[in-house]
Symmetry: C2
Protein backbone atom coordinates (compact mmCIF):
# COMPACT_ATOMS: atom_id res chain seq x y z
CA UNK A 1 0.00 0.00 0.00
CA UNK A 2 2.83 2.40 0.85
CA UNK A 3 4.18 4.29 -2.15
CA UNK A 4 6.71 7.04 -2.65
CA UNK A 5 4.10 9.85 -2.62
CA UNK A 6 2.83 8.59 0.70
CA UNK A 7 6.31 8.47 2.20
CA UNK A 8 6.72 12.12 1.28
CA UNK A 9 3.47 13.04 3.08
CA UNK A 10 2.99 10.50 5.87
CA UNK A 11 1.15 12.63 8.42
CA UNK A 12 -1.38 15.43 8.37
CA UNK A 13 -0.11 18.99 8.17
CA UNK A 14 -2.23 22.02 7.43
CA UNK A 15 0.07 23.36 4.70
CA UNK A 16 0.20 20.12 2.71
CA UNK A 17 -3.24 18.77 3.61
CA UNK A 18 -4.44 18.07 0.04
CA UNK A 19 -1.15 16.40 -0.89
CA UNK A 20 -1.38 14.20 2.22
CA UNK A 21 -4.88 13.07 1.24
CA UNK A 22 -4.05 12.47 -2.43
CA UNK A 23 -0.86 10.59 -1.59
CA UNK A 24 -3.01 8.03 0.19
CA UNK A 25 -4.57 6.65 -2.99
CA UNK A 26 -3.49 3.14 -3.90
CA UNK A 27 -1.22 2.42 -6.86
CA UNK A 28 -3.59 0.04 -8.62
CA UNK A 29 -6.77 2.06 -9.13
CA UNK A 30 -8.70 3.41 -12.09
CA UNK A 31 -6.58 6.24 -13.49
CA UNK A 32 -9.52 8.43 -14.41
CA UNK A 33 -10.92 8.10 -10.89
CA UNK A 34 -7.50 9.05 -9.50
CA UNK A 35 -7.44 12.14 -11.72
CA UNK A 36 -11.00 13.17 -10.80
CA UNK A 37 -10.53 12.70 -7.06
CA UNK A 38 -7.14 14.45 -7.04
CA UNK A 39 -8.78 17.54 -8.51
CA UNK A 40 -11.77 17.29 -6.15
CA UNK A 41 -9.50 17.07 -3.10
CA UNK A 42 -7.23 19.87 -4.34
CA UNK A 43 -10.10 22.32 -4.85
CA UNK A 44 -11.99 21.18 -1.75
CA UNK A 45 -8.96 21.89 0.44
CA UNK A 46 -8.22 25.16 -1.38
CA UNK A 47 -11.81 26.28 -0.77
CA UNK A 48 -11.66 25.34 2.93
CA UNK A 49 -8.36 27.20 3.30
CA UNK A 50 -9.82 30.28 1.65
CA UNK A 51 -13.08 30.16 3.62
CA UNK A 52 -11.53 29.16 6.96
CA UNK A 53 -14.90 27.87 8.21
CA UNK A 54 -15.66 27.74 11.89
CA UNK A 55 -16.71 24.37 13.27
CA UNK A 56 -20.31 25.63 13.24
CA UNK A 57 -20.08 26.65 9.57
CA UNK A 58 -18.62 23.25 8.67
CA UNK A 59 -21.48 21.58 10.54
CA UNK A 60 -24.01 23.77 8.70
CA UNK A 61 -22.57 22.48 5.40
CA UNK A 62 -22.85 18.86 6.63
CA UNK A 63 -26.46 19.48 7.67
CA UNK A 64 -27.30 21.12 4.33
CA UNK A 65 -25.97 18.14 2.37
CA UNK A 66 -27.83 15.76 4.67
CA UNK A 67 -31.11 17.63 4.26
CA UNK A 68 -30.61 17.71 0.47
CA UNK A 69 -30.05 13.95 0.50
CA UNK A 70 -33.13 13.34 2.61
CA UNK A 71 -35.19 15.44 0.18
CA UNK A 72 -34.27 13.16 -2.74
CA UNK A 73 -36.89 10.61 -3.76
CA UNK A 74 -37.73 8.76 -6.93
CA UNK A 75 -39.52 11.97 -8.02
CA UNK A 76 -37.30 14.69 -6.62
CA UNK A 77 -33.58 15.19 -7.18
CA UNK A 78 -32.37 17.92 -4.85
CA UNK A 79 -28.69 17.47 -5.79
CA UNK A 80 -29.48 18.01 -9.47
CA UNK A 81 -31.36 21.17 -8.45
CA UNK A 82 -28.27 22.22 -6.48
CA UNK A 83 -26.07 21.54 -9.50
CA UNK A 84 -28.51 23.54 -11.65
CA UNK A 85 -28.74 26.64 -9.45
CA UNK A 86 -24.96 26.76 -8.93
CA UNK A 87 -24.45 26.75 -12.71
CA UNK A 88 -22.68 23.38 -12.65
CA UNK A 89 -25.21 21.59 -14.87
CA UNK A 90 -24.88 24.25 -17.57
CA UNK A 91 -21.09 24.16 -17.28
CA UNK A 92 -20.95 20.37 -17.68
CA UNK A 93 -23.30 20.71 -20.65
CA UNK A 94 -21.14 23.42 -22.21
CA UNK A 95 -17.94 21.41 -21.76
CA UNK A 96 -19.50 18.41 -23.46
CA UNK A 97 -21.04 20.35 -26.35
CA UNK A 98 -18.42 22.72 -27.70
CA UNK A 99 -19.46 23.45 -31.26
CA UNK A 100 -18.16 25.30 -34.28
CA UNK A 101 -19.04 28.98 -34.35
CA UNK A 102 -22.54 29.55 -35.67
CA UNK A 103 -23.94 26.18 -34.59
CA UNK A 104 -26.96 26.29 -32.27
CA UNK A 105 -25.68 26.06 -28.67
CA UNK A 106 -26.68 23.16 -26.47
CA UNK A 107 -28.42 23.58 -23.12
CA UNK A 108 -29.46 21.22 -20.36
CA UNK A 109 -32.23 18.70 -20.99
CA UNK A 110 -34.08 19.53 -17.77
CA UNK A 111 -36.20 17.16 -15.71
CA UNK A 112 -39.43 17.40 -17.73
CA UNK A 113 -38.42 15.75 -20.99
CA UNK A 114 -40.56 12.72 -21.86
CA UNK A 115 -39.64 10.41 -24.75
CA UNK A 116 -42.08 9.34 -27.47
CA UNK A 117 -44.08 12.54 -27.79
CA UNK A 118 -46.88 12.49 -30.42
CA UNK A 119 -45.73 12.87 -34.01
CA UNK A 120 -47.53 15.67 -35.85
CA UNK A 121 -47.58 17.03 -39.40
CA UNK A 122 -46.13 20.52 -39.80
CA UNK A 123 -48.71 23.14 -38.91
CA UNK A 124 -50.29 21.20 -36.05
CA UNK A 125 -51.10 22.89 -32.75
CA UNK A 126 -49.42 21.20 -29.77
CA UNK A 127 -51.51 23.17 -27.26
CA UNK A 128 -54.29 20.81 -26.19
CA UNK A 129 -55.75 22.78 -23.29
CA UNK A 130 -56.62 25.97 -25.18
CA UNK A 131 -54.99 28.23 -22.59
CA UNK A 132 -52.56 31.06 -23.34
CA UNK A 133 -51.60 33.43 -26.11
CA UNK A 134 -51.52 31.71 -29.52
CA UNK A 135 -48.14 31.50 -31.20
CA UNK A 136 -46.90 30.34 -34.58
CA UNK A 137 -43.35 28.93 -34.74
CA UNK A 138 -41.55 28.34 -38.01
CA UNK A 139 -38.04 28.11 -39.36
CA UNK A 140 -35.48 25.99 -41.04
CA UNK A 141 -32.88 23.44 -40.01
CA UNK A 142 -29.58 24.28 -41.68
CA UNK A 143 -25.95 23.20 -41.44
CA UNK A 144 -23.07 25.50 -40.49
CA UNK A 145 -22.72 26.50 -44.17
CA UNK A 146 -26.34 27.66 -44.18
CA UNK A 147 -27.45 24.74 -46.37
CA UNK A 148 -30.81 23.13 -45.51
CA UNK A 149 -30.71 19.84 -43.61
CA UNK A 150 -33.45 17.71 -45.07
CA UNK A 151 -35.59 15.40 -42.95
CA UNK A 152 -34.43 16.68 -39.57
CA UNK A 153 -36.60 15.74 -36.61
CA UNK A 154 -37.72 18.52 -34.26
CA UNK A 155 -39.02 17.64 -30.82
CA UNK A 156 -40.54 20.38 -28.68
CA UNK A 157 -41.90 20.60 -25.12
CA UNK A 158 -42.92 23.49 -22.89
CA UNK A 159 -45.14 24.50 -19.96
CA UNK A 160 -48.74 25.51 -20.36
CA UNK A 161 -49.98 29.00 -19.60
CA UNK A 162 -50.12 28.23 -15.87
CA UNK A 163 -46.38 27.48 -15.85
CA UNK A 164 -46.63 23.69 -15.49
CA UNK A 165 -45.62 20.79 -17.69
CA UNK A 166 -48.27 18.14 -18.41
CA UNK A 167 -46.37 15.61 -16.26
CA UNK A 168 -46.61 17.95 -13.28
CA UNK A 169 -50.39 18.11 -13.66
CA UNK A 170 -51.48 14.64 -14.63
CA UNK A 171 -55.27 14.52 -14.75
CA UNK A 172 -55.44 18.32 -14.88
CA UNK A 173 -53.77 18.92 -18.25
CA UNK A 174 -54.46 16.64 -21.23
CA UNK A 175 -51.76 13.98 -21.65
CA UNK A 176 -48.99 15.12 -24.01
CA UNK A 177 -50.15 18.73 -23.77
CA UNK A 178 -47.55 21.02 -25.37
CA UNK A 179 -45.28 18.23 -26.60
CA UNK A 180 -44.74 17.18 -30.18
CA UNK A 181 -42.42 15.74 -32.78
CA UNK A 182 -42.14 17.22 -36.29
CA UNK A 183 -40.18 16.33 -39.39
CA UNK A 184 -38.62 19.13 -41.39
CA UNK A 185 -39.27 19.08 -45.12
CA UNK A 186 -36.57 18.25 -47.64
CA UNK A 187 -35.76 21.99 -47.62
CA UNK A 188 -35.30 21.88 -43.86
CA UNK A 189 -38.51 23.80 -43.16
CA UNK A 190 -40.72 23.18 -40.14
CA UNK A 191 -43.73 25.00 -38.66
CA UNK A 192 -46.22 24.43 -35.88
CA UNK A 193 -48.59 26.23 -33.53
CA UNK A 194 -48.44 26.55 -29.76
CA UNK A 195 -48.86 29.18 -27.04
CA UNK A 196 -46.35 31.68 -25.73
CA UNK A 197 -44.33 30.00 -22.94
CA UNK A 198 -44.40 31.28 -19.37
CA UNK A 199 -41.78 31.50 -16.64
CA UNK A 200 -42.09 29.03 -13.78
CA UNK A 201 -40.31 28.26 -10.51
CA UNK A 202 -38.13 25.22 -9.89
CA UNK A 203 -39.20 23.25 -6.77
CA UNK A 204 -38.21 25.60 -3.95
CA UNK A 205 -39.65 23.91 -0.88
CA UNK A 206 -36.39 22.13 0.03
CA UNK A 207 -32.89 23.03 1.21
CA UNK A 208 -31.91 24.36 -2.25
CA UNK A 209 -34.89 26.73 -2.25
CA UNK A 210 -33.89 27.89 1.22
CA UNK A 211 -30.32 28.44 0.01
CA UNK A 212 -31.60 30.52 -2.92
CA UNK A 213 -33.47 32.66 -0.41
CA UNK A 214 -30.30 33.27 1.63
CA UNK A 215 -28.51 34.18 -1.62
CA UNK A 216 -31.12 36.80 -2.44
CA UNK A 217 -32.18 34.81 -5.49
CA UNK A 218 -35.60 33.70 -6.75
CA UNK A 219 -36.41 30.21 -8.04
CA UNK A 220 -37.74 31.20 -11.47
CA UNK A 221 -36.72 29.95 -14.84
CA UNK A 222 -37.02 32.47 -17.70
CA UNK A 223 -39.88 31.62 -20.09
CA UNK A 224 -38.68 29.14 -22.72
CA UNK A 225 -39.45 26.24 -25.02
CA UNK A 226 -37.29 23.10 -25.15
CA UNK A 227 -36.12 21.50 -28.39
CA UNK A 228 -34.21 18.44 -29.46
CA UNK A 229 -33.19 18.56 -33.10
CA UNK A 230 -31.64 15.52 -34.75
CA UNK A 231 -30.63 14.63 -38.30
CA UNK A 232 -28.58 11.78 -39.69
CA UNK A 233 -24.91 12.78 -40.00
CA UNK A 234 -25.25 15.74 -37.59
CA UNK A 235 -24.62 16.21 -33.90
CA UNK A 236 -27.94 16.17 -32.02
CA UNK A 237 -28.84 19.49 -30.38
CA UNK A 238 -30.66 19.81 -27.08
CA UNK A 239 -31.55 23.45 -26.73
CA UNK A 240 -33.97 26.14 -25.58
CA UNK A 241 -35.37 29.27 -27.07
CA UNK A 242 -36.25 32.12 -24.74
CA UNK A 243 -38.79 34.90 -24.97
CA UNK A 244 -37.08 38.32 -25.00
CA UNK A 245 -39.66 40.02 -22.80
CA UNK A 246 -39.63 37.69 -19.80
CA UNK A 247 -38.88 39.58 -16.57
CA UNK A 248 -36.51 36.75 -15.56
CA UNK A 249 -34.54 36.64 -18.82
CA UNK A 250 -31.27 37.83 -17.21
CA UNK A 251 -32.00 35.95 -13.99
CA UNK A 252 -32.81 32.40 -15.07
CA UNK A 253 -32.22 30.47 -11.87
CA UNK A 254 -30.46 27.56 -13.62
CA UNK A 255 -28.42 29.82 -15.96
CA UNK A 256 -29.97 28.25 -19.06
CA UNK A 257 -30.11 31.48 -21.03
CA UNK A 258 -27.42 32.05 -23.63
CA UNK A 259 -27.32 35.23 -25.66
CA UNK A 260 -27.72 33.27 -28.91
CA UNK A 261 -30.91 31.54 -27.73
CA UNK A 262 -33.08 34.61 -27.20
CA UNK A 263 -35.62 34.63 -30.01
CA UNK A 264 -37.71 37.43 -31.44
CA UNK A 265 -41.36 37.07 -30.53
CA UNK A 266 -43.26 39.29 -32.95
CA UNK A 267 -46.79 40.31 -32.26
CA UNK A 268 -48.93 39.72 -35.31
CA UNK A 269 -51.02 42.79 -35.73
CA UNK A 270 -53.17 42.30 -38.82
CA UNK A 271 -54.54 45.69 -39.85
CA UNK A 272 -57.90 44.16 -40.55
CA UNK A 273 -58.35 42.71 -37.05
CA UNK A 274 -60.25 44.77 -34.49
CA UNK A 275 -57.93 45.52 -31.53
CA UNK A 276 -56.47 42.03 -31.19
CA UNK A 277 -54.58 43.06 -28.05
CA UNK A 278 -57.56 44.28 -26.14
CA UNK A 279 -59.60 41.24 -27.10
CA UNK A 280 -56.86 39.06 -25.56
CA UNK A 281 -56.47 37.34 -28.93
CA UNK A 282 -52.98 38.65 -29.66
CA UNK A 283 -50.94 36.25 -31.75
CA UNK A 284 -47.21 35.74 -31.63
CA UNK A 285 -44.95 34.80 -34.46
CA UNK A 286 -41.54 33.24 -33.89
CA UNK A 287 -39.05 32.46 -36.62
CA UNK A 288 -36.17 30.31 -35.51
CA UNK A 289 -33.52 28.40 -37.42
CA UNK A 290 -31.52 25.56 -35.97
CA UNK A 291 -27.94 25.25 -37.17
CA UNK A 292 -26.51 21.75 -36.86
CA UNK A 293 -22.84 20.82 -36.75
CA UNK A 294 -21.67 17.75 -38.64
CA UNK A 295 -21.22 14.70 -36.41
CA UNK A 296 -17.62 13.96 -35.48
CA UNK A 297 -16.70 10.77 -37.24
CA UNK B 1 -32.53 42.72 -7.98
CA UNK B 2 -30.34 43.72 -10.93
CA UNK B 3 -26.95 45.04 -9.88
CA UNK B 4 -23.84 46.15 -11.75
CA UNK B 5 -22.09 42.79 -11.39
CA UNK B 6 -25.10 41.10 -12.92
CA UNK B 7 -25.20 43.50 -15.85
CA UNK B 8 -21.59 42.61 -16.57
CA UNK B 9 -22.46 38.90 -16.66
CA UNK B 10 -26.09 38.58 -17.72
CA UNK B 11 -26.00 35.24 -19.54
CA UNK B 12 -24.19 31.97 -19.19
CA UNK B 13 -20.82 31.57 -20.91
CA UNK B 14 -18.39 28.77 -20.29
CA UNK B 15 -15.39 31.06 -19.79
CA UNK B 16 -17.05 33.25 -17.15
CA UNK B 17 -19.38 30.64 -15.64
CA UNK B 18 -18.42 31.20 -11.98
CA UNK B 19 -18.63 34.98 -12.33
CA UNK B 20 -22.10 34.65 -13.91
CA UNK B 21 -23.31 32.56 -10.96
CA UNK B 22 -21.77 34.79 -8.29
CA UNK B 23 -23.07 37.97 -9.92
CA UNK B 24 -26.58 36.64 -9.35
CA UNK B 25 -26.45 37.05 -5.56
CA UNK B 26 -28.67 39.75 -4.15
CA UNK B 27 -27.29 42.99 -2.76
CA UNK B 28 -28.90 42.66 0.66
CA UNK B 29 -27.65 39.32 1.98
CA UNK B 30 -25.45 38.14 4.83
CA UNK B 31 -21.91 39.18 3.90
CA UNK B 32 -20.25 36.11 5.36
CA UNK B 33 -22.63 33.87 3.39
CA UNK B 34 -21.79 35.82 0.23
CA UNK B 35 -18.07 35.33 0.89
CA UNK B 36 -18.45 31.60 1.60
CA UNK B 37 -20.64 30.88 -1.43
CA UNK B 38 -18.46 32.95 -3.76
CA UNK B 39 -15.49 30.77 -2.84
CA UNK B 40 -17.54 27.56 -3.09
CA UNK B 41 -18.78 28.50 -6.58
CA UNK B 42 -15.32 29.63 -7.72
CA UNK B 43 -13.64 26.36 -6.72
CA UNK B 44 -16.56 24.19 -7.81
CA UNK B 45 -16.44 25.65 -11.31
CA UNK B 46 -12.63 25.51 -11.39
CA UNK B 47 -12.77 21.82 -10.43
CA UNK B 48 -15.40 21.05 -13.10
CA UNK B 49 -13.32 22.88 -15.72
CA UNK B 50 -10.22 20.93 -14.75
CA UNK B 51 -12.03 17.57 -14.62
CA UNK B 52 -14.22 18.12 -17.70
CA UNK B 53 -16.66 15.44 -16.52
CA UNK B 54 -18.81 13.56 -18.98
CA UNK B 55 -22.54 13.66 -18.37
CA UNK B 56 -22.24 10.13 -16.95
CA UNK B 57 -19.49 11.16 -14.52
CA UNK B 58 -21.56 14.15 -13.38
CA UNK B 59 -24.52 11.83 -12.83
CA UNK B 60 -22.31 9.42 -10.86
CA UNK B 61 -21.41 12.32 -8.53
CA UNK B 62 -25.11 13.20 -8.12
CA UNK B 63 -25.91 9.56 -7.31
CA UNK B 64 -23.02 9.33 -4.84
CA UNK B 65 -24.23 12.39 -2.92
CA UNK B 66 -27.79 11.06 -2.97
CA UNK B 67 -26.73 7.67 -1.64
CA UNK B 68 -24.65 9.36 1.08
CA UNK B 69 -27.68 11.44 2.07
CA UNK B 70 -29.91 8.39 2.19
CA UNK B 71 -27.38 6.61 4.43
CA UNK B 72 -27.60 9.37 7.05
CA UNK B 73 -29.78 8.62 10.07
CA UNK B 74 -29.89 9.82 13.64
CA UNK B 75 -27.06 7.34 14.29
CA UNK B 76 -25.03 7.52 11.13
CA UNK B 77 -23.51 10.61 9.50
CA UNK B 78 -22.15 9.65 6.09
CA UNK B 79 -21.26 13.24 5.12
CA UNK B 80 -19.10 13.63 8.25
CA UNK B 81 -17.41 10.35 7.29
CA UNK B 82 -16.85 11.79 3.81
CA UNK B 83 -15.40 14.97 5.32
CA UNK B 84 -13.19 12.82 7.55
CA UNK B 85 -11.76 10.53 4.86
CA UNK B 86 -11.10 13.46 2.51
CA UNK B 87 -9.08 15.21 5.22
CA UNK B 88 -11.54 18.10 5.45
CA UNK B 89 -12.45 17.52 9.10
CA UNK B 90 -8.79 17.60 10.14
CA UNK B 91 -8.20 20.69 8.02
CA UNK B 92 -11.12 22.57 9.60
CA UNK B 93 -9.84 21.50 13.01
CA UNK B 94 -6.30 22.68 12.20
CA UNK B 95 -7.51 26.05 10.92
CA UNK B 96 -9.49 26.63 14.11
CA UNK B 97 -6.74 25.51 16.49
CA UNK B 98 -3.52 27.13 15.40
CA UNK B 99 -1.31 27.19 18.49
CA UNK B 100 2.04 28.53 19.56
CA UNK B 101 4.97 26.25 18.77
CA UNK B 102 5.37 23.52 21.39
CA UNK B 103 1.70 23.41 22.43
CA UNK B 104 -0.04 20.04 22.08
CA UNK B 105 -1.80 19.97 18.69
CA UNK B 106 -5.54 19.62 18.48
CA UNK B 107 -7.29 16.82 16.58
CA UNK B 108 -10.88 16.02 15.75
CA UNK B 109 -13.25 14.98 18.53
CA UNK B 110 -14.60 11.97 16.66
CA UNK B 111 -18.09 10.52 16.93
CA UNK B 112 -17.54 8.41 20.07
CA UNK B 113 -17.03 11.07 22.71
CA UNK B 114 -19.56 10.90 25.54
CA UNK B 115 -19.81 13.63 28.16
CA UNK B 116 -19.83 13.00 31.92
CA UNK B 117 -17.43 10.07 32.06
CA UNK B 118 -16.73 8.66 35.54
CA UNK B 119 -14.33 10.67 37.66
CA UNK B 120 -11.45 8.62 39.05
CA UNK B 121 -8.53 9.21 41.36
CA UNK B 122 -5.10 9.08 39.72
CA UNK B 123 -3.94 5.49 39.41
CA UNK B 124 -7.36 4.02 38.64
CA UNK B 125 -7.80 1.48 35.86
CA UNK B 126 -10.36 2.59 33.26
CA UNK B 127 -10.47 -0.85 31.63
CA UNK B 128 -13.56 -2.53 33.02
CA UNK B 129 -13.73 -5.61 30.78
CA UNK B 130 -10.30 -7.05 31.60
CA UNK B 131 -9.38 -7.53 27.93
CA UNK B 132 -6.13 -6.47 26.30
CA UNK B 133 -2.54 -5.71 27.18
CA UNK B 134 -2.22 -3.73 30.40
CA UNK B 135 -0.79 -0.25 30.09
CA UNK B 136 0.23 2.47 32.54
CA UNK B 137 -0.09 6.06 31.36
CA UNK B 138 1.48 8.95 33.23
CA UNK B 139 2.75 12.45 32.62
CA UNK B 140 2.38 16.07 33.39
CA UNK B 141 0.30 18.96 32.17
CA UNK B 142 2.56 21.95 31.51
CA UNK B 143 2.31 25.35 29.88
CA UNK B 144 4.34 26.46 26.86
CA UNK B 145 7.13 27.60 29.21
CA UNK B 146 7.33 24.07 30.64
CA UNK B 147 5.79 25.14 33.96
CA UNK B 148 3.27 22.73 35.58
CA UNK B 149 -0.40 23.56 35.21
CA UNK B 150 -2.02 22.67 38.48
CA UNK B 151 -5.47 21.15 38.69
CA UNK B 152 -5.89 20.40 35.00
CA UNK B 153 -8.64 17.97 34.11
CA UNK B 154 -7.79 15.06 31.82
CA UNK B 155 -10.55 13.16 30.09
CA UNK B 156 -9.70 9.98 28.22
CA UNK B 157 -11.62 7.54 26.00
CA UNK B 158 -10.57 4.67 23.76
CA UNK B 159 -11.70 1.38 22.20
CA UNK B 160 -11.45 -1.93 23.99
CA UNK B 161 -9.18 -4.73 22.79
CA UNK B 162 -11.76 -5.79 20.18
CA UNK B 163 -11.60 -2.36 18.55
CA UNK B 164 -15.00 -1.08 19.73
CA UNK B 165 -16.07 1.77 21.97
CA UNK B 166 -18.47 0.95 24.81
CA UNK B 167 -21.25 2.89 23.07
CA UNK B 168 -20.89 0.63 20.02
CA UNK B 169 -21.38 -2.46 22.15
CA UNK B 170 -23.99 -1.55 24.70
CA UNK B 171 -24.84 -4.64 26.76
CA UNK B 172 -21.64 -6.35 25.60
CA UNK B 173 -19.09 -4.04 27.19
CA UNK B 174 -19.61 -2.62 30.69
CA UNK B 175 -21.02 0.91 30.60
CA UNK B 176 -18.26 3.56 30.62
CA UNK B 177 -15.63 0.96 29.76
CA UNK B 178 -12.35 2.71 28.91
CA UNK B 179 -13.56 6.20 29.71
CA UNK B 180 -12.49 8.33 32.64
CA UNK B 181 -11.86 11.79 34.00
CA UNK B 182 -8.78 12.60 36.13
CA UNK B 183 -7.50 15.69 37.90
CA UNK B 184 -3.82 16.49 37.68
CA UNK B 185 -2.08 17.24 40.99
CA UNK B 186 -0.90 20.71 41.88
CA UNK B 187 2.36 19.79 40.12
CA UNK B 188 0.42 18.91 36.99
CA UNK B 189 0.99 15.17 37.37
CA UNK B 190 -1.54 12.56 36.33
CA UNK B 191 -1.44 8.77 36.03
CA UNK B 192 -3.86 5.98 35.31
CA UNK B 193 -4.08 2.42 34.00
CA UNK B 194 -5.72 1.13 30.87
CA UNK B 195 -5.00 -1.31 28.02
CA UNK B 196 -3.05 -0.72 24.82
CA UNK B 197 -5.44 0.74 22.20
CA UNK B 198 -6.22 -1.10 18.99
CA UNK B 199 -6.86 0.04 15.44
CA UNK B 200 -10.44 -0.14 14.20
CA UNK B 201 -12.38 0.55 10.99
CA UNK B 202 -14.76 3.44 10.47
CA UNK B 203 -18.21 2.32 9.23
CA UNK B 204 -17.47 1.19 5.67
CA UNK B 205 -20.76 -0.38 4.57
CA UNK B 206 -21.99 2.80 2.83
CA UNK B 207 -21.08 4.94 -0.19
CA UNK B 208 -18.01 6.38 1.57
CA UNK B 209 -16.68 2.88 2.26
CA UNK B 210 -17.24 2.00 -1.40
CA UNK B 211 -15.40 5.17 -2.43
CA UNK B 212 -12.46 4.24 -0.20
CA UNK B 213 -12.35 0.88 -1.98
CA UNK B 214 -12.20 2.56 -5.39
CA UNK B 215 -9.41 4.80 -4.06
CA UNK B 216 -7.37 1.77 -3.00
CA UNK B 217 -7.72 2.81 0.62
CA UNK B 218 -8.75 0.85 3.74
CA UNK B 219 -11.18 2.12 6.40
CA UNK B 220 -8.88 1.75 9.43
CA UNK B 221 -7.98 4.32 12.00
CA UNK B 222 -4.51 3.97 13.51
CA UNK B 223 -4.59 2.78 17.15
CA UNK B 224 -5.06 5.73 19.49
CA UNK B 225 -6.47 7.13 22.69
CA UNK B 226 -8.55 10.32 22.81
CA UNK B 227 -7.97 13.09 25.34
CA UNK B 228 -9.56 16.37 26.31
CA UNK B 229 -7.37 18.43 28.63
CA UNK B 230 -8.72 21.58 30.21
CA UNK B 231 -7.44 24.02 32.79
CA UNK B 232 -8.66 27.42 33.87
CA UNK B 233 -6.88 30.16 31.91
CA UNK B 234 -5.72 27.81 29.13
CA UNK B 235 -7.09 26.86 25.74
CA UNK B 236 -8.79 23.46 25.96
CA UNK B 237 -7.05 20.72 23.95
CA UNK B 238 -8.89 17.93 22.15
CA UNK B 239 -6.22 15.51 21.04
CA UNK B 240 -5.09 11.94 20.40
CA UNK B 241 -2.01 9.95 21.19
CA UNK B 242 -1.03 7.20 18.79
CA UNK B 243 0.86 3.95 19.29
CA UNK B 244 4.08 3.93 17.23
CA UNK B 245 3.83 0.28 16.22
CA UNK B 246 0.36 0.28 14.64
CA UNK B 247 0.45 -1.01 11.08
CA UNK B 248 -1.91 1.83 10.06
CA UNK B 249 0.09 4.65 11.67
CA UNK B 250 0.96 6.32 8.34
CA UNK B 251 -2.40 5.40 6.81
CA UNK B 252 -4.97 6.60 9.34
CA UNK B 253 -8.09 6.82 7.19
CA UNK B 254 -9.24 10.15 8.70
CA UNK B 255 -5.72 11.70 8.72
CA UNK B 256 -5.80 12.14 12.49
CA UNK B 257 -2.12 11.33 12.98
CA UNK B 258 0.26 14.22 13.49
CA UNK B 259 3.96 13.64 13.91
CA UNK B 260 3.90 15.27 17.37
CA UNK B 261 1.18 12.93 18.65
CA UNK B 262 2.99 9.63 18.25
CA UNK B 263 3.90 8.46 21.75
CA UNK B 264 6.52 6.01 22.93
CA UNK B 265 4.97 2.81 24.18
CA UNK B 266 7.64 1.09 26.26
CA UNK B 267 7.33 -2.54 27.15
CA UNK B 268 7.94 -2.99 30.87
CA UNK B 269 10.20 -5.95 31.24
CA UNK B 270 10.87 -6.44 34.92
CA UNK B 271 13.85 -8.73 35.34
CA UNK B 272 12.10 -10.57 38.14
CA UNK B 273 8.98 -11.44 36.10
CA UNK B 274 8.92 -14.81 34.32
CA UNK B 275 8.53 -14.27 30.56
CA UNK B 276 5.83 -11.62 30.68
CA UNK B 277 5.53 -11.65 26.92
CA UNK B 278 4.94 -15.33 26.51
CA UNK B 279 2.43 -15.37 29.34
CA UNK B 280 0.49 -12.66 27.53
CA UNK B 281 0.96 -10.41 30.53
CA UNK B 282 3.20 -7.87 28.83
CA UNK B 283 2.79 -4.40 30.29
CA UNK B 284 3.14 -1.14 28.49
CA UNK B 285 4.31 2.13 29.90
CA UNK B 286 3.45 5.45 28.25
CA UNK B 287 4.74 8.81 29.43
CA UNK B 288 3.00 11.74 27.87
CA UNK B 289 2.96 15.42 28.71
CA UNK B 290 0.28 17.80 27.55
CA UNK B 291 1.39 21.35 26.80
CA UNK B 292 -1.36 23.95 27.07
CA UNK B 293 -1.42 27.37 25.45
CA UNK B 294 -2.75 30.30 27.46
CA UNK B 295 -6.32 31.21 26.57
CA UNK B 296 -6.64 34.22 24.27
CA UNK B 297 -8.20 36.97 26.31
Amino acid sequence: MTNSAQIKYPYFEEATSAEVVNARMGSDIDERFREVMSVVVKHLHAAVKEIEPTHEEWLAAIKFLTAAGHKCTEWRQEFILLSDVLGVSMLVDAINHRRPSGATPNTILGPFYVANAPRYANGANICLDGKGEPMAVSGRVVDTDGEPVSGAQIEVWQTNDDGFYDVQQKGIQPDWNLRGMFNATKNGDYWFRSVKPRHYPIPADGPVGKMLGHLGRHPNRAAHMHFIVTASGYEPVITHIFTPDCEFLDQDTVFGVKQDLIAKFQREDPADAASPDRSGAARWKVEWNFTLARAKS
